[in-house]
Amino acid sequence: MKTKDDVGIKGYAGYVPKYRIKPEEIGDCWGEDGKTMGRGLRVESKSVPSPDEDVVTISTQAAKWAMKRAGIKGEDLEAIYVGSESHPYAVKPTATIVAASIAASPHMTAADYEFACKAGTAAFQTCMGLVSSGMIENGMAIGADTSQGAPGDALEYTAAAGGAAYVIGSEDLLAKIKETVSYTTDTPDFWRREGEKYPQHGGRFTGKPAYFKHVTNCTKKLLERTGNEPDEYDYAVFHQPNGKFPVKAAKKLGFSKDQLEPGLLVTHIGNTYSGSVPLGLAATLDQAEPGDKIMVTSYGSGAGSDSFDIEVTENITDVKEKDVPTIEEVTSNEEFVPYSVYAKYRDKIEGGR
């Protein structure tokens, strides 16, 4: 997909709930060696939303901060797309509630997206298209989740909560998105049927034919299109279902661990699903300098990947001076909870009051 010269990011911000649970706690409940499990997944803790937090509240907080960074008002946004697989309503858009909360309503378009963990980057591409075509000046793309894992399922070790919001426009960009490509197939690696509370997954099938195939093919296509080599990038962000997959995919593609490091959040906050790549990119932008190049590849089960070739502009310096917390600051306020509290917060106790 060819982009116009000037389309990119004007503002960004992320939000992650305060609560955390460690793999040891989860393992203790189910008679498993949680510590070893966590070590295997390279996850030391994961975020847990409070009962009064959901995709609407996470998106709203991130959106408010992103607008502050961009220096725009709600009425300057002409489109809002929220990507998630845990929208609070099955029917009634998250995006309209977010739009009302940031005073973007009513002269705008809005919709919710769902594509497992890559719904957020699908929202990026939609906003880019609308901006590139001249249909809108500014759009907002959000990726956020409060992901679900059935009690006792391996997903419980990683399924976490968080999200990030991006203002996409064509002027005053802090980073240009120079190219985007996608790679999409019908791959049944992970799903949740309508009306079901928890997802099902194909276990090891989620690896080679799913995550790795899509992430590597999509990234390779981006490199081919741009003519860039992996070492020309200062940073790389890959979807992070656990701490192992992105490192392995990066290595296979020729990216180093150093390039991944700033955006590798999964170790402490877990897999934030649609929030994963948007948060990883936000943490990377927090550290980026003018001229830095960032390669981004998301992954969503079902399955598909979106890759982006991003170049940071000199505006990043001004944006950093605005009073908006960095991802490191947002995630630094943490409180660890036992499995019992986690089960209550995630509505896993049947018949509870």
């Binding site: 009064d52 609407v56 509240t57 630094s332 917060y345």
Partner: protein
């Protein structure tokens, strides 16, 4: 809560929009149609005014015998917060240890779930407060 009533109050609950008396300049939240001081002088002069969302705790308490809507959050903290504009609101204080709260604590509004009409019903969102520094690495 009735759907229509909540819908009418969305601006207040999501954005903290009150009114400012066009006659004396006093700010009110929740909005009023008439300024109690200026009375008829304020008629049709009560303009929408958005609170900036920050204020300080005046007084607070920990609730251990919760309202049925908030049982999942028990124990939780309720406070009276004086906003920068002078109006006082009642709201939850979230994401903070009770021992770290004191009168004068600077807080900011953040949107949270206030409740829902059961698993099938509408979800109500609105402002709660957290310490202003709680997400700034301090």
């Amino acid at each position: 809560m009735a759907i229509a009533r909540f819908w009418r109050e969305i601006k207040q609950r999501y954005k903290g929009i009150g009114v400012k008396c066009g006659n004396c300049g006093e700010i009110f939240f929740p909005p009023r149609d008439i300024c109690p001081e200026c009375r008829r002088e304020s008629y049709k002069k009560m303009d929408e005014y958005e609170l900036n969302g920050t204020g300080e705790v005046i007084t607070y308490t920990r609730v251990e015998d919760p309202h049925p809507e908030f049982e999942d959050l028990c124990p939780y903290v309720m406070a009276i917060v004086e906003m920068d504009e002078g109006v006082r609101l009642t709201g939850h204080i979230v994401d903070v240890d009770y021992d770290d709260i004191e009168a004068g604590l600077e807080v900011e509004a953040s949107m949270r779930k206030l409740g829902e009409d059961g698993p099938e019903g509408m979800i109500y969102y609105g402002y709660k407060f957290w310490p202003i520094d709680s997400r700034r690495g301090e």
